[in-house]
């Protein structure tokens, strides 16, 4: 009897890798699948299930299915890849400083002046207290016509991000 190459093992491996790759390529763009990576985990679980079926067949029916050795090796590889993914999304990305000294609700924001992306200095409290020119605009001086301006903002949302995007 011709022994099958046990497609379930190979398809399972590909599905596990696809599940891992799906996170940075697709699901990370949407908060609903980024914050908890359920979609990627589902795909990986399907892949691991296919691998388990294939490996089980190889051991229960070695006369019909190949894969006792390669199935076991690929199964361990797929499990390691899935474990590494889980390490990344459930542990590594949570290794952040506690920032106990960060300004808290009710405190005055520590003022600062930093250059914007056109090297123009921007003062935090200055943006709240006076007219603030939108990024990239310049006050145009035309005789007899006052420069265009915007009223002071009601609030500022300040976002610190990691950079290197």
């Amino acid at each position: 009897m011709k022994r099958s190459w046990n497609a379930s093992v190979w398809v399972g491996l590909v599905v596990v890798f696809a599940g891992v790759a799906s996170y940075p390529l697709i699901f990370i763009r949407y908060p609903v699948t980024r914050d908890f990576p359920w979609a990627s985990l589902l795909i990986m679980a399907l892949g691991l299930a296919l691998l388990a079926v294939g490996i089980s067949r190889a051991f229960r029916r070695p006369d019909a299915y190949r894969g006792k050795i390669f199935g076991s090796v690929l199964g361990v590889l797929a499990a390691a890849v899935a474990a590494f993914f889980c390490y990344g999304v459930f542990y590594a990305t949570r290794q952040l400083p506690a920032s106990h000294g960060a300004p808290q609700v009710g405190q005055l924001a520590p003022d600062f002046t930093l250059p914007d992306s056109t090297n123009r200095p921007v003062n935090l409290l200055g943006t709240l207290h006076s007219q603030f020119w939108p990024e990239g605009t310049e006050p145009v001086a035309v005789i007899g016509i006052p420069p265009i301006s915007t009223p002071p903002p009601a609030a500022v949302v300040l976002i610190f991000y990691r950079g290197y995007w």
Partner: protein, 98 residues
Amino acid sequence: MIAISVDSPADSEKLRKSQGYTFPILSDSKDEVIRRWDLVHPHGGPDGIDIARPAEFLIDSSGKIRWVNLTEDLRVRARPQQVLDAFDAMSRAQASLR
């Protein structure tokens, strides 16, 4: 809205143009403000450089902080609705004082 990172003004301008952002992106290349606000992530960047940990603040017109989001996970950031809800809560609190 104002964004801050350790990126240079030139890199920030590239990002701003490529994404079509209209808000200012400030450059804190020496981590001075990031350190003063205790938001430094030591060796968190490429080649082990110190960068900012993700954080969002809502600051009212008097300079007082009304809402803070210090995420516990790099992957999880404030969603727009959270910021809008914080702004609405701030506006209601200010209106009730008048």
